[in-house]
Structures are given as structure tokens and as C-alpha cells.
């Protein structure tokens, strides 16, 4: 899966940010700034994923993608594969 696609690169950046904020909030669930950031980041991430999936197919499966498309799921490159 090629992160040279700008939308996917953005998704990965927001994912990374959401993971760290989530882990921080597990420890400090009352931190107001972090809660606001987490909420903004999650919201942005959800809309980026929605946009991306409409154009390029699902990034996740088992019924949890915005767009389910079994052919694309199977045939698109996998994250561990080299890209140009």
C-alpha cells in the first residue's frame, strides 16, 4: 500500500497521532487539552478514511469499513510490499 498517495500519507499521520493521544488519555483521561486534540484528530481521521475508501476501496474489513469491496480488498497491494 503506497503512502506516496497523499491521502493515505495523511491518514497514516493522523492514525499515528490518534494512537499516541489514546495511550496518553488511558493514563490521564481528564486532561482537557489532550481530550480536545483526540476528538479533533479522530474526527479528521474518520473523514479522511471515508474519503479515501470511496475512491480507493476499504482500508479495513469485517464490516467495519465505510466501503466494503471484496475484490479491492484482495487485489490491492499489502502494506509489507515494496512500492515504487
Amino acid at each position: 500500500m503506497c503512502p506516496c498517495n497523499d491521502n493515505l500519507k495523511n491518514i497514516m499521520m493522523y492514525q499515528f497521532c490518534a494512537i499516541d493521544l489514546n495511550l496518553y488519555l488511558d493514563n490521564f483521561p481528564e486532561d482537557k487539552n489532550a481530550r480536545e486534540d483526540y476528538s479533533k484528530v479522530s474526527c479528521k481521521l474518520t473523514s479522511l478514511i471515508h474519503e479515501y475508501e470511496k475512491e480507493h476501496g476499504p482500508l479495513t474489513n469485517f464490516g467495519s469499513a465505510f466501503v466494503e469491496e471484496p475484490n479491492i480488498w484482495v487485489n490491492q497491494p499489502w502494506p509489507w510490499e515494496n512500492y515504487e
Binding site: M1, M12, Q15, F16, L23, D26, N61
Partner: protein
């Protein structure tokens, strides 16, 4: 329940075949302090944690560790993907090739299988885990 997301946690695209690096890196996959061991330990320890905070933390860190497992696997795979059998032999990976071909394998840098048992802390106390 878990879901797979078809991205890496951080982008990886290694084009430089490097078997020596692959040989060392494999310990971060399946060695005593590797990502697999860490992921399984966190996910194992969460069941008996006394507080919601520690259950949440171990669930979430354990889940993230699985993304680390995938990144290390990706690096090792890409570093050895285009190697010939002779090159693998020269790098001391001939035995690995005989056992696993070029498949990934949970071992340390010298080929010992993932020693999970050794890394379980005793006594099984939440404070010791954390």
C-alpha cells in the same frame, strides 16, 4: 475482537538488500525482547489487572505492539526478499532458508525459537507487570 487495518503504523519501503541487518533485526521480531513477546505479554497481563486504567492501557499497548510486529516483519521481509540462496548461506542464513525458505520466522538473531516462557515474570503481580 480485533480488526486489521491495511496500513503500516509507519511507512517502510526498503530497497537495499541487507542480509546481515535482517539477521540481527529478526531478534526484534521473535527474540527475548522482541515485539511479539511484548505484544503477547501485554495482552496476557491485562486480564488480571486491578483497575480500569491498567486494563485499558495493556489492551491498547498490546494492540499497538502488534503493529510493531508487522513493521519489523516488513523490514526483515524487504531486506531478504531478493536474496539468492548463496547470499543467504554467506550471511549465515542457510539454516533459516532450509527451515523456513524466505518466510518470516519468530526467532532470535541466532535462530533460537521465540523464548516466550522465559520472559514471563513471576510472581504474577500487577506491579511487577507494570
Amino acid at each position: 475482537m480485533w480488526y486489521y487495518v491495511k496500513t503500516l503504523e509507519y511507512p517502510i519501503n526498503l530497497k537495499c538488500k541487507d542480509l546481515n541487518m535482517a539477521k540481527y533485526l529478526i531478534t526484534q521480531y521473535g527474540g527475548p525482547d522482541g515485539e511479539l513477546g511484548a505484544a503477547l505479554r501485554y495482552l496476557d497481563q491485562r486480564y488480571t489487572m486491578p483497575t480500569g486504567k491498567s486494563k485499558a492501557l495493556l489492551t491498547d499497548i498490546g494492540t499497538e505492539e502488534m503493529a510493531h510486529v508487522e513493521m519489523i516483519a516488513t523490514m526483515v521481509h524487504q531486506l531478504m526478499e531478493n536474496a539468492t540462496i548463496d547470499e543467504l548461506k554467506k550471511a549465515g542464513l542457510g539454516g533459516n532458508y532450509a527451515d523456513h525458505r524466505k518466510a518470516l520466522f519468530y526467532t532470535d538473531a541466532t535462530g533460537n525459537p521465540c523464548p516466550l516462557k522465559l520472559r514471563h515474570f513471576k510472581p504474577a503481580l500487577p506491579l511487577v507487570y507494570l
